[in-house]
Symmetry: C2
Subunit: 507 residues, 2 copies
Amino acid sequence: MTRAAHQDADVLRLKRLGIDTYQELVVFMARSSPVCRSEGWAAQSRIQVTLDRRSIVATLNVTTDGLLAPDEISLSEAAWTTLGANSGDLVRLSHAPPLESLSSLRAKVYGERLDAGAIGAIVRDIVAGRYADLELAAFVTAFAQSAVDVDEATALARAMIDAGDRLYWGRSPIVDKHCVGGLPGNRTSMIVVPIVACAGLTIPKTSSRAITSPAGTADAMETIAPVDLDLAAMRRVVEREGACIAWGGRVRLAPADDIIIGVEQALDFDSPVQLVASILSKKASAGSTHIVIDMPIGPTAKVRSPAAADSLDALIRTVGAGLGLALRVVRTDGTQPVGRGIGPSLEARDVLRVLRLANDAPRDLRERALRLAGDVLEIGDAVPSGRGISRAREILESGQALHKFEAICAAQGGMREPKRAPLTHVVAATRRGQISGIDNRRLARLAKLAGAPRAPTAGIELHARLHDSVRAGDPLLTIHAEAPGELEYARGYLAANPQLVSVDETL
Amino acid sequence: MTRAAHQDADVLRLKRLGIDTYQELVVFMARSSPVCRSEGWAAQSRIQVTLDRRSIVATLNVTTDGLLAPDEISLSEAAWTTLGANSGDLVRLSHAPPLESLSSLRAKVYGERLDAGAIGAIVRDIVAGRYADLELAAFVTAFAQSAVDVDEATALARAMIDAGDRLYWGRSPIVDKHCVGGLPGNRTSMIVVPIVACAGLTIPKTSSRAITSPAGTADAMETIAPVDLDLAAMRRVVEREGACIAWGGRVRLAPADDIIIGVEQALDFDSPVQLVASILSKKASAGSTHIVIDMPIGPTAKVRSPAAADSLDALIRTVGAGLGLALRVVRTDGTQPVGRGIGPSLEARDVLRVLRLANDAPRDLRERALRLAGDVLEIGDAVPSGRGISRAREILESGQALHKFEAICAAQGGMREPKRAPLTHVVAATRRGQISGIDNRRLARLAKLAGAPRAPTAGIELHARLHDSVRAGDPLLTIHAEAPGELEYARGYLAANPQLVSVDETL
């Protein structure tokens, strides 16, 4: 095969067209190219592009109207980056080698069980960029099926760990916390991390950007300090401060996860198995040994019922045990958003209010963070059982947590104040009554339509909480946006979904 | 929503760049475009493009290097066609409306049952071009799960019928035959159709192009006569000759099927539910009432075992009954390819040999076609039960079938001889022995690597059949190709897969 593939190789010159396809690797070639003809390639053919010793597999888009000369090819922006190529470089083209792991993927689609070897091969091919976006979508869908069992979930998590770098810290415990998500504004990590570090524990927190939510911890943190740290920078920050709050995508910890998340984001879904594999592979890759999992439960949170929580809890514990991790799952209230802001900057502002002990700091965010910090202190054996939350409160109220947070930001490259959005629109109650329901999902969608997380200052500021009494004209929420079109779009969605915040007139 | 979407609308000028992305609808826009900024669009945003009263939803690719001016946008070739646009036209852009049916798709991914309403909404959105390729891949994968039940399969088939045109012939029976596939070279339809039409039955045969095989009936027929008939042309041919052999993709019969097949082809998989929905929706849309299904069974055919045949048979009967169709499922030998050729032209040549009663006509292809034609004659009540095959043989041997086939070709636009490939490579036995196994799947893959079905004359000619004795040096098969790269690639694959045709030395 290799020999034949080499004989097929054809050399062409790269020309930059500047086409951004997000993460899909695309190669553009003229229909008039002799290579296209001799190799029998057409739009959607999978082609291997080799520069020196580096190769990518890309999907062909054929150009017809003189965009490219017959001896030229171009790449999508993601493909330029992955291949490390420059305009003018000469590359060799050949048929993409057959992808054996696709047979296993097909078997999984049809409901067969896969062993660890098959799952490992799939994940390695994904990390190597050999899966087309369509194939990634099939992978995400197949592993979202209920027919995926715990052994497969464990194998998936382990394969995701093995297909990337892994940090070793030379000490134990290495603690961490993670929220399974689904609750807008739940930015406790940025408070928990400095508290825990003050108590002498090591907490190298890597977090993701938003998957289907208006903001991830990395998005919010980035409005205050750089989060795009490489392994060396992250290690330096942690050695100095005992903690970091970094984006996990830059350090190659479980890189399969970032690719998979890109597709989940486009499809706007994820699944228990992928959620667990994603969380635990990232944590284990970061060298964490003792982990607290925040699991908010509520009718419009990611985990909707105690029964769903039981099953996710069991999956987390089983997979975690398989990976040798000590875990504590903490069930929390998921009936309404946490804090006031929803969106990167707005959430970051809430966090700073708590750390700065401001009078207007959101009490619910503070209390959740203290509870979770207490759990981390206990699981990490920094305090005796039952003493965690009071110790966490001491650290916060003494100002040590703020000081540590500032030190972490400085170590990551410097602290700044989160910006405010240029455009806002206040939505007021149209009648008096009591707030009887807040739809997390629709609220998250509203914040996303307003531009979050891509537009960091965009999002929603909630002025009312469940059971609050309001009068007609009282502000319920403020939409923040960076672009007029997005503000309008969010307003249109709100007009069509007035039940997003329910006001009950029984008062 | 509608009002807000209209306020968002922005007008830009279309410029043709000539980028062929296969069937994915893509819109290209400069990052410097004020619209991109004001709407908050980025690569992979879903955007509605409206020309006069016609709209498409396309995926955004952002251009950075001066390819487009700030007030220009471009489209992928498929999007130009679907929108019916020309370079210089002014189009309105707006955010794609939220796609409610995606919630149902997500529910299906997680294993929930969908009702007919939910499935209908998904299929209508697919036909309207509102699903991105990633979402189509998720759809195909979700409906390939074993957790899809017969009610869902029936609802899917019915939705596919409803979301397209339907032919009414004003008489009954309207007969048809279809093969579930997986058996290279099984081109019986082109023989069955003229025989059945000679007996006075109406058989408006529409067939697909290859999904995962080296040739579909439409691909093979196209090497002899035009198959790209619109509804009026198809009706004219059938009124004149009682039959046609047309490509089903042009007439809007179950158009969802063609979109789904495009994705299945890229993913190289399909599933029982989609197979049955695809077959029966096409047949019912074409107005057929009585249908014979050829189901080849063999270890490397699509249906691998009697047990798999039982389950597919049951699914076909149940869904067929739900659609009001009379069905006969005929199980046939699927242990080796039918006839000699694999690939559009090569298979067409085998068909012509049978119709022309040539001495070198493949006997197996003739006998299978006669058996199936006999079944169609019986289910269509043209002959008493048990008399079908002998009547079919009379019609073939009298030369009437050839005459009818030529008349059908003439009515479809004119008959021509299938061409031969410019490049061939003969593979000979390396030792004496008996042919003990032929791997249909690998053989199909080999024919596809050689260029079939896109290159119509490409494919494989088999010189030996199961249980034949061969000596060292005897030709086993000939690879046919149109491009040197493809010939090399096929040879490389064969070298790596010598067990494709097994020779047992026990002789």
